[in-house]
């Protein structure tokens, strides 16, 4: 009896409810005749796609700035890095010069650009958050919104030559959604792309087992990122940062500059946001500019809360569980809704209600609020 109670307590009521809802959806969709293998492939793909963005929440929470709704800042840095990398790749004609290596170099360059920009922006953002102690989450929400609005102007004014990026009818500005199919799209996760463009010794990156797709490359990258974050929070600096998030006075009295730790945490969170969006775009196969990343901060925050984190403490396990539940429900709910209600755009409306409903539920579980 005691062990059942312990298991229940370690899972927690919110996760139990959402978990059961997820299992229900899976069962219903299988009854309705969807292929379980395809369904699970989708769940795994979405899980990895959003995973790093959710991981970006951890340093923010641990360093004491709370949920980093301003992760859009990192996302913008990652997107900028990607478009610059793609433009350079196009100008240098890498696809012809380098062949199969071209998408790799583009991806690497996108990451390097993105990380450099995210480091600079994240540090400035951290300085800002240190001036608004006590209301970080409100401020970060608006930083997130403002940066998207500002980036809209940037996207409109960038005059790139790459036809995949610019509007089809030419002129200035980048398009809403740029395909990555000629670039690094699916390089780590899409079996079709890997099998057709990469040499045989790289075919393990993504392959199919029956109907089930296993994006091994992406899994490895995500696992590595999780490991690094986990390791960081066991290092001297990471422990100091956790302390700063838990109790500022305690940490100050141990001779640690709390403000510096908060800036560092914010910067790492922003960098992970940049890496996260590049991996997201890589998996999705498209680069989404303009307003697409507007709500990504909320989805990420909701995911980690569902996973069991509070606004003051978060662990890697919260990231893994939360993302799986959040994305799992979204993936399974849509086809089920489509099947059950067949009137016009109602399923899409239903999807929005479900996803925002989960976010609302998660935010109501923040425990204690931003003290």
């Amino acid at each position: 009896m005691k062990t059942i109670k312990e298991i229940y307590e370690s899972i927690g009521l919110p996760r139990l409810i959402i978990g059961l809802f997820f299992i229900c959806l899976v069962v219903v969709s299988i009854i309705l005749g969807f292929s379980p293998a395809a369904l699970f492939s989708d769940v795994v793909r979405r899980w990895l796609m959003y995973g790093t963005l959710v991981l970006a929440m951890v340093p923010g929470i641990q360093s004491g700035i709370g949920l980093n709704f301003g992760v859009s800042l990192g996302i913008s840095a990652g997107l900028l890095g990607s478009v610059f990398a793609m433009e350079i790749s196009f100008l240098r004609n890498w696809n012809e010069v380098l062949g199969a290596g071209a998408p790799w170099l583009t991806l690497l360059l996108a990451l390097i650009f993105g990380i450099i920009m995210a480091t600079i922006l994240g540090t400035l953002y951290g300085l800002l958050l240190n001036r608004v102690k006590g209301s970080e989450m409100t401020v970060s929400t608006y930083v997130g919104f403002s940066v998207i609005a500002f980036m809209n102007i940037v996207w409109l004014s960038l005059a790139f030559k790459n036809g995949e990026l610019s509007w089809p009818l030419q002129g200035q500005g980048l398009r809403n959604t740029a395909s990555l199919s000629g670039s690094f799209g699916g390089l780590l996760s899409n079996p079709d792309v890997v099998q057709s463009t990469q040499p045989a010794w790289l075919h393990w990156l993504a392959f199919k087992i029956g109907d089930f797709t296993l994006p091994l490359g992406l899994i490895l990258v995500f696992a590595l990122l999780c490991f690094f974050v986990w390791l960081f929070f066991r290092s001297k600096m990471g422990i100091a940062m956790s302390g700063a998030g838990e109790n500022q006075l305690f940490t100050t009295s141990s001779g640690i500059d709390v403000d510096r730790m908060r800036i560092l945490g914010t910067a790492i969170s922003t960098v992970l946001g940049a890496v996260g969006i590049i991996l997201y775009a890589q998996t999705y196969g498209f680069l989404q500019l303009y307003n697409a990343p507007l709500m990504m901060g909320f989805a990420s925050a909701a995911s980690i809360l569902i996973g069991g984190a509070s606004v003051r403490r978060a662990k890697i396990s919260h990231v893994l569980i939360g993302t799986l539940l959040f994305q799992g429900i979204l993936v399974t709910a849509l086809p089920v809704a489509n099947e059950v209600i067949k009137i016009g755009t109602l399923p899409e409306v239903l999807r929005i209600i479900i996803s925002n409903g989960i976010i609302l539920y998660a935010l109501s579980k923040t425990k204690g609020g931003n003290q």
Partner: protein, 533 residues
């Protein structure tokens, strides 16, 4: 015989969670007299007043024993409202005034005078129109009656000098109809000297009208100046009720403090130490700490190597500020030398790097990471300052879990910390065990100087004994210099070699533990012995 008293509280006892804070206390006040209630911090004055006012905190913790009589009639005061109806008023230490309201509005708050209007006839008297003329007239009368002719009844309270706010607060109490008894809780603590004198005058004026006053204060000279009679409390016990004319300042001080001092330490061990004025561990020179409520204002003291040195004094006088300045939580001025080396306290962790460790008085606020494990709490500071419990992997310093775990287990054993293991969160421990964790964290730093602030506050007797014994032990065995800051004079006198009494941010006098009770009492009250004749 009881009829002569307006208020008579008989045999009052009160327990907070098994801790008896009041033990059969009597308090009797005659009409029109100023009655002083004196005692050290923690003597039970506040609890007694909370009972008188029927504060919810009393009832939510199980009520009290004893009887309260007003004019010889036994009454039960179960809420502040009842107390008000009985004619008992209070002048608060922190002003309960609304800054954006004017003087009249503040005085009449909650007791506004209304005129019926068409709306109020339909929707009830909450919609009555204010009768400003009548209200300001009554406010004026109340102000005049305490001699505050120069306060304009229409002026806004915001921005007024603190003294004025105090007087407005008094006027509000006076304005209540049927007020018989006014309680002044340390009214002079925040006032300048001139304002305080004025306040005492007003108290006399009020008393002349037949209103009784209970005057709570630490300033014994004020008691001598204004009170007619007094009740002394000590450790929750009733000591004596005396008329002021029958008692001297020295005698009051002695009665406040007087109790048995148990030596915790064997005196024979004392001799084995070599205390010398040439070997100074810690020196303060014109030391200032800008800690609100506990300011240190120019402290000079030398603490010898291997000594147990105590800082005592009343709350708010600055003894707490000493340690918080060294920790680096508040800005400091002046010089602090550790073993002759000047500390630059503007640098975080400066004291820690110079072999000074400390235990904060604010256990939950400063002393602990409540959400983290006992292990993390104990090892945190040593890890950050001394790179202990770390393993080098490439450029990174990673936690050495095995070492940290082993050390924590040793500390748990050493201090008898009652927990399920190193991974239990510090927040879920009891107060005494939390304090042991704080001490274990300081000891892990292996300090040459250990500063402990209020080491026994809010912990049970067993833990108290263990903590004090351990402090003595490391002092005797390892020669650690101990600086102890405490409100508990008994504790200081049982342990320390010398005790500095802090008053108004300065060292008032340095005393020996076996100095007389009266001498300690006077020093605490900030009175020189030669003045107290």
């Amino acid at each position: 015989m009881d009829d002569q008293y307006l208020l008579s509280m008989k045999n009052i006892s009160k327990e907070y969670f098994g801790n008896r804070v009041l033990k059969g206390v009597n308090l009797n006040v005659k009409p029109g007299e100023i009655h002083a209630l004196v005692g050290e911090n923690g003597a039970g004055k506040t609890t007694l007043m909370n009972i008188l006012f029927g504060m919810p905190v009393i009832y939510s913790t199980g009520g009290f024993e004893g009887e309260i009589q007003i004019n010889g009639e036994s009454i039960s005061i179960d809420s502040p409202h009842t107390a008000m109806n009985c004619g008992i008023g209070m002048v608060h230490q922190e002003f309960m005034l609304i800054p954006e309201f004017n003087v009249t509005e503040n005085i009449k708050l909650g007791r506004e005078i209304g005129e019926p209007t068409a709306l109020s006839k339909i929707f009830g008297n909450l919609l009555e129109k204010m009768n400003w003329t009548q209200m300001s007239k009554e406010a004026r009368k109340a102000l005049d009656s305490i001699g505050m002719m120069n306060i304009d009844e229409y002026a806004k309270v915001a921005g007024m000098p603190i003294g004025y706010k105090q007087f407005i607060e008094i006027a509000r109490e006076i304005d209540k109809t049927g007020i018989k008894l006014l309680v002044f809780d340390e009214p002079t603590a925040v006032l300048t000297e001139g304002e305080a004198d004025r306040l005492l005058e007003i108290m006399r004026l009020i008393a002349k009208k037949g209103i009784a006053i209970i005057f709570i204060t630490h300033r014994l000279t004020e008691v001598m100046a204004v009170a007619d009679s007094m009740t002394i409390l000590r450790d929750g016990e009733f000591v004596v009720r005396k008329d002021v004319k029958d008692i001297t300042l020295t005698k009051i001080a002695e009665l406040m403090i007087g109790r048995q001092i148990d030596k915790l330490v064997d005196d024979s061990l004392l001799a084995s130490r070599d205390l010398s004025d040439n070997k100074i561990a810690l020196e303060f020179k014109d030391y200032h700490v800008d800690m609100p409520g506990e300011r240190v204002k120019g402290m000079n003291i030398k603490i010898r190597e291997g000594e147990i040195f105590g800082f005592g004094g009343l709350a708010g006088q600055g003894k707490i500020g000493i340690v918080n300045g060294i920790i680096g939580l508040f800005d400091t001025q002046g010089d602090v030398f550790a073993f002759g080396k000047r500390l630059d306290l503007s640098k975080l962790g400066e004291a820690l790097r110079n072999n000074i460790a400390f235990v904060s008085e604010d256990r939950r606020g400063v002393g602990l990471l409540l959400g983290e494990s006992v292990e993390r709490n104990i090892t945190f500071t040593a890890m950050q300052i001394k790179d202990q419990f770390l393993r080098r992997i490439g450029p990174m310093k990673i936690l050495d879990k095995a070492k940290a775990d082993q050390h924590t287990r040793e500390m748990i054993k050493l201090f008898d910390i009652r927990c399920t293991g190193p991974s239990q969160t510090a927040g879920s421990l009891s107060g005494g065990n939390q304090q042991k964790v704080c001490l274990a964290r300081a000891i892990t730093m292996d300090p040459k100087i250990l500063i402990v602030s209020e080491p026994t506050r809010g912990i049970d007797i067993g833990a108290k004994k263990l903590v004090l014994e351990y402090l003595t032990k490391i002092n005797r065995e390892q020669g650690t210099t101990i600086v102890m800051i405490s409100s508990e004079l008994v504790e200081l006198r049982s342990l320390c070699d010398r005790i500095a009494i802090v008053s108004e941010g300065k060292v008032f006098s340095v005393m020996k533990p076996d100095d007389s009770d009266a001498a300690f009492g006077l020093a605490m009250a900030g009175v020189r012995e030669e003045e107290a004749v």
